[in-house]
């Protein structure tokens, strides 16, 4: 029995650097694409360049004759025409769900959909042969605009469904009995001279998750189990869904998610390419690999957001909000992703945010278009809702002539009111909006910046200052299984953990929550070190392989710590209980007299004791143990949370706008997040920073644009604008803690907080800087061009339209439009 270091008892709250970082940052690790079993064949998918078309002919002959080619297959060739990819979230019983094929057979429904797959000895040969596949298309009318898609006589994406509407999902607090009726609230406000009714339309542009590691899949069919390596967030779900999709018995599948380079929701799906890999590997009896290029990733991996939000808010003129009516149109794209239809629905529970809104109605219509499908993207439904409510709270403040923070304060749940059951029936267990806000306002010097803003306005400065506020909350830690059941979600929300006490006193922890960059290995080790009183270095976290961790529901929705971490705590408690029993036996004491502290089991009032490592060894030797006990300390737990977790925070942005050019600059960003107890502040800071960058990017930089033919015009990193560190200031982020009461660690999720909170803070700040010039809205991303046009429009000058459907120069391609090259390149 050995220990490598003194046991620590205070891992929680320690800013440890991440133990996984050395291998991840240096690349000395294995991502899916770096795994190549002997004899691997390579797949290349030939994709439709057209959004909507009938396939009239496929000529494979030249490709088949190309060097190194093993086969060129259509869906019919593979016999997979009848196979449909799963959608696990039928939000209504009569939801319209087109079957998404592995390869399009007769009609393509979005640009980027696969039609033919080439199998060759090398990836280069597969790619070369792909260029030789001749596919003829008869173009059909693309369906691009959600409102037009719902109009009478619209071209149908899937004519057999008879409509472009996937489903309409309604929540009405009046009908549900969780609150009052919004219709009545609006009628009352309209009739009351002391009330106002405010209507606004906001747009959530389409975004691309843009994870760093492209998607990849390797399948080796040569063992007793078919082994699938995939760059996925959801190895367990992928295994079950492969069975559901292809009929391979679950016991015959082993799915491994090795190190995965980011996901942000973008790797939550079950991909046609993954299913093709399995089907082709089985057919050929050889390992196969598919790794997408960056442009394939941007074009064909699912997108996020894309909503039109029509909001009506009612309030008394004293500022009390009396109702909120939400109408959403959500673009599903051409098919339904694994949880796609449910993503906007998650927002239903968050539009009331931190406010005591007595009446809320949420109506969401999901629409099919001939675009890339949408699904979960960091925050999934909650950023959209938070944007809507935080933007309209600012609008209401302007309308009522109130300071926007004062108006929020007047309406939010005060800290004495927790636990608080909201208008949508959720119970917020804990929170303290006053505390986070006070700290943020003080750090920001809100009053000072408001003064500066006044001065600049008075002087008519070229550069104007705007202050943006977002006091957000979110629901995360997905999720209580029964709640998911009530929403017709196709799975539970529990998580599994096992702890193995090795003979030498080391600890192996198995979690079903497999990380893709978040730092689970470090945070979970810290938890276990504290729970068992063993050194941090003695804990190994195993995950991401269904042979090692057979049970799990994976990583998304800020669930890993608050669900997966708690499962680990529960397993640790069982280990301690077993160890206690063994200790009592060996120390010849009553179990009631055994105390456990910092890895030591001692007999109360004596200096007799055993370390947990000694007990692990004793259990392994099994020479002497109680009659009514198995000789093992190993323990399993499955934890189903009883509630969501409700982190919150106050985010403040100081925006500077050059009114001559429209250039928007983020001068300062202050945020104070309440995420309960913190396991590792360094990881928290990283999550917040990355989240902020992504949320700010939605406000300022990113947008996936389609032209009128349904071509994604900025489907490469050349012109899909992601910010770099040089575009963002040093964030002033900090935390306060109101521990969650819904779990034993008092923790809340943090993975999505920054993304959810920041977008409205930035846009509110942009508009606040321009409000005195008569500007009331700027669509996202708030580019310099849009800002300049908004200023011109407010001045009554007419300008051109912002032409978003064209290439703009970027990266190595400069002015060369990859969709429409000319001149120099042939």
């Amino acid at each position: 029995m050995t220990t490598t270091a003194e046991p620590t008892t205070t891992e929680l709250g320690k800013a440890r650097t991440r133990k996984e970082d050395a291998r991840l940052i240096t690349g000395r690790t294995r991502f899916t694409d770096s795994i190549t079993p002997h004899g691997t064949l390579h797949l290349h998918v030939v994709r439709s360049p057209i959004a909507h078309a009938t396939i009239t002919s496929v000529d494979k002959s030249a490709a088949e004759a190309s060097p190194g080619v093993i086969g060129v297959f259509t869906a019919a060739d593979l016999g997979v025409e009848a196979v449909g990819l799963p959608c696990a979230w039928p939000i209504t019983p009569d939801m319209k769900a087109p079957q998404r094929p592995l390869l399009a057979s007769s009609t393509v429904h979005f640009a980027g959909e696969g039609v033919v797959v080439v199998v060759a000895r090398t990836a280069a040969e597969a790619r070369d042969a792909g260029d030789l596949v001749e596919i003829d298309y008869d173009a059909l009318e693309p369906v691009l605009d959600m409102e037009a898609a719902l109009a009478e006589g619209a071209t149908l994406v899937h004519p057999d469904l008879g409509t472009n509407e996937n489903a309409t999902w309604v929540f009405d607090s009046g009908a549900a009995g969780t609150g009052a009726s919004v219709d009545e609230a609006i009628a009352a406000a309209e009739a009351d001279p002391d009330s106002i009714v405010l209507r606004r339309r906001f747009r959530q542009q389409r975004l691309i998750p843009a994870f760093m590691e492209p998607r990849s899949c390797v399948v080796d069919p040569t063992g007793e189990q078919i082994t699938v390596w995939a760059a996925t967030q959801v190895p367990h779900i992928l295994r079950t869904m492969t069975t559901v999709t292809l009929g391979v018995p679950e016991s015959k599948l082993r799915v491994i998610a090795p190190d995965v380079g980011g996901g942000f929701g973008g790797k939550i799906g079950v991909l046609p390419e993954e299913m093709l890999c399995v089907a082709i590997a089985q057919r050929l009896g050889k390992p196969v690999k598919w790794t997408e290029t960056r442009s394939e990733s941007l074009l064909a991996a699912h997108h996020g957001r894309d909503q039109i939000q029509d909001l009506t808010i009612t309030a008394k003129k004293d500022g009390t909000v009396t109702g909120l009516d939400v109408h959403l149109l959500a673009d599903m794209g051409a098919y339904l992703g694994l949880v796609g239809p449910g993503v906007p629905i998650l927002g239903a529970f968050m539009f009331n945010a931190i406010y005591k809104i007595p009446a809320l109605k949420f109506t969401c219509t999901n629409v099919f278009t001939t675009k890339t499908l949408t699904d979960a993207y960091r925050g999934a439904g909650r950023p959209e809702a938070t944007f809507g409510i935080e933007r309209i709270m600012d609008e209401l403040a302007v309308e009522l002539g109130r300071d926007p923070m004062d108006l929020r304060k007047q309406n939010w749940i005060t800290h004495e009111e927790f636990p608080f059951t909201t208008v949508v029936g959720l119970t917020y267990d804990s929170g303290n909006y006053e505390q986070a806000t006070d700290q943020a306002m003080a750090t920001f010097d809100y009053a000072g910046l408001r003064r500066e803003q006044e001065e600049r306005r008075a002087r008519g400065d070229k550069v104007q200052l705007g202050i943006g506020i977002s006091t957000f909350t979110e629901m995360c830690g997905l999720a209580p299984s029964r709640v998911l059941g009530s929403l017709a979600y196709g799975a539970g929300g529990w998580e599994a953990a096992s702890i193995r006490m090795l003979a030498t006193g080391k600890v192996e922890v198995i979690t079903g929550a497999s990380a893709h960059g978040q730092g689970h290995e470090t945070a979970f080790s810290q938890i276990v070190a504290d729970q068992l009183g063993v050194p941090f270095e003695d804990v190994e976290i195993l995950h991401g392989d269904t042979q090692i961790s057979p049970k799990g529901l994976d990583t998304y929705g800020s669930r890993s710590l608050v669900v997966g971490g708690i499962a680990i705590v529960k397993a640790a408690e069982k280990v301690v209980a077993k160890a206690k029993k063994l200790a009592a036996h060996l120390l010849e004491a009553s179990e009631d007299d055994i105390e456990f502290n910092a890895g030591q089991f001692t007999v109360r009032g004596t200096d007799k004791g055993k370390a947990i490592q000694e007990l692990a060894f004793a259990a392994f030797m099994a020479h002497d143990y109680p009659e009514d006990m198995e000789p093992s300390l190993d323990s399993d737990a499955v934890y189903d949370p009883e509630n969501f977790s409700f982190p919150h925070g106050t985010h403040l942005a100081a925006m500077e706008i050059d009114t001559e050019t429209g250039k928007v600059s983020l001068r300062r960003y202050v945020c104070v997040d309440d995420i309960g107890n913190v396991v590792n502040p360094l990881i928290v800071e990283g999550q917040v920073h990355g989240g902020l960058a992504q949320g700010i990017a939605q406000a300022l930089f990113e947008e996936a644009n389609y032209d009128d033919q349904g071509t994604l015009v900025n489907g490469t990193f050349v012109d899909y604008t992601l910010p770099s560190a040089a575009d963002l200031p040093s964030f002033e982020s900090s935390t306060v803690s109101t521990p969650a009461t819904s779990n034993p660690l008092g923790v809340k999720g943090v993975g999505e907080a920054g993304t959810i909170a920041s977008t409205p803070a930035i846009v509110n700040g942009v508009i606040d800087a321009l409000r005195h010039l008569g500007v009331t809205n700027v669509e996202m991303p708030t580019t310099s061009q849009r800002v300049w046009r908004a200023i011109q429009e407010a001045k009554g000058n007419s300008t051109q339209e912002t032409p978003i459907d064209t290439h703009s120069p970027g990266a190595g391609l400069g002015s060369i439009d990859p969709n429409n090259p000319q001149g120099e390149v042939q």
Partner: protein, 283 residues
């Protein structure tokens, strides 16, 4: 990256390169820093049969003083140009503009010659070369010839470099003692110019004795803003003069429209940025 197949040669002299180019025929492509060529190959927007890499010709990286000129080898990377003392002293504007190109990684690979031969109208260095009357030394099978900047930029991605020819050197007159500024406007810190204005001024007392002004991304080639230059010469270096001259900024331009900026906005930017660039150059 999986480009289409190509052959690769790495000559060690300009003569060898010219021969290789002749042997390869019209399907050959020259590789300088690869920062523009490789993305094109990667996306298979071009599929040359032979790539001729100039990276093995050490001479082409040299920056030297040649009488009243500063001679910069075509293969001098942006990073070297930006840091070079001769360039800083005598062709300050080039150094300033080069510092705004992309990011450090790209600047270490991409070359002055590659950027100018590529002739992307959104590229930052064309406007500088044009405004400063650079000369381009071009080698071919029949020897070398020199082309002035006003003839070098022909059209969108098209220069005076003919088939079988290689740009070997760019020669800048010395602008010792001039003041200058490159005003670049872009969407993100390391992005291409939506519009940019290059200004060099020779000040005499408080007034502008000579002016050179070039515009980036305001047409299919870099553009010399002669109207602005004319309006500046003889004026006091003042905000009013800058503003008045900036009104001429869009003369002779044909602003492109793209997602970042439609033509009207780009024209507006050209005026605003010209005013700012002149003021900044005037100090």
């Amino acid at each position: 990256m999986i480009p289409a197949k190509f052959d690769y040669v790495r000559p060690s002299s300009v003569e060898e390169a010219v021969t290789a180019l002749r042997d390869a025929g019209e399907d050959a492509k020259i590789l300088a820093g690869g920062q523009s060529l490789l993305p094109v190959l990667r996306l298979r927007l071009a599929a040359p049969s032979v790539i001729i890499d100039l990276g093995g010709i050490a001479d082409l990286r040299r920056i030297s003083e040649d009488g009243d000129r500063i001679a910069i080898g075509a293969m001098a990377p942006h990073h070297d140009v930006m840091r070079d003392d001769l360039v800083k002293q005598h062709v300050t504007l080039l150094s300033q503009a080069t510092a705004t190109v992309a990011d450090p990684q790209v600047r270490h690979r991409g070359t002055l010659g590659g950027a100018l031969a590529h002739a992307d109208p959104a590229g930052d260095l064309g406007a500088v070369a044009l405004a400063l009357d650079a000369e381009f030394v071009i080698a071919g099978a029949s020897g070398t010839r020199t082309v002035g900047a006003s003839e070098f930029f022909v059209d969108y991605f098209t220069t005076a470099i003919g088939e079988g020819e290689i740009l070997t050197q760019v020669r800048f007159p010395k602008y010792t003692g001039w003041t200058s500024h490159y005003e670049k406007f872009n969407r993100t810190a390391q992005a291409w110019s939506m519009c940019a204005v290059a200004v060099a001024l020779r000040l005499d007392g408080g007034s502008i004795a000579e002016a050179r002004v070039g515009l980036t991304n305001m047409g299919t080639t870099p553009i010399r803003a002669s109207g602005v230059e004319a309006a500046l010469v003889g004026q006091q270096a003042s905000a009013d003069a800058a503003r008045a001259a900036a009104e001429h900024a869009t003369e002779g331009t044909a602003a492109p429209s793209d997602a970042d900026a439609a033509a009207d906005y780009r024209e507006h930017l050209a005026r605003v940025l010209t005013g700012r660039a002149v003021l900044a150059a005037a100090g």
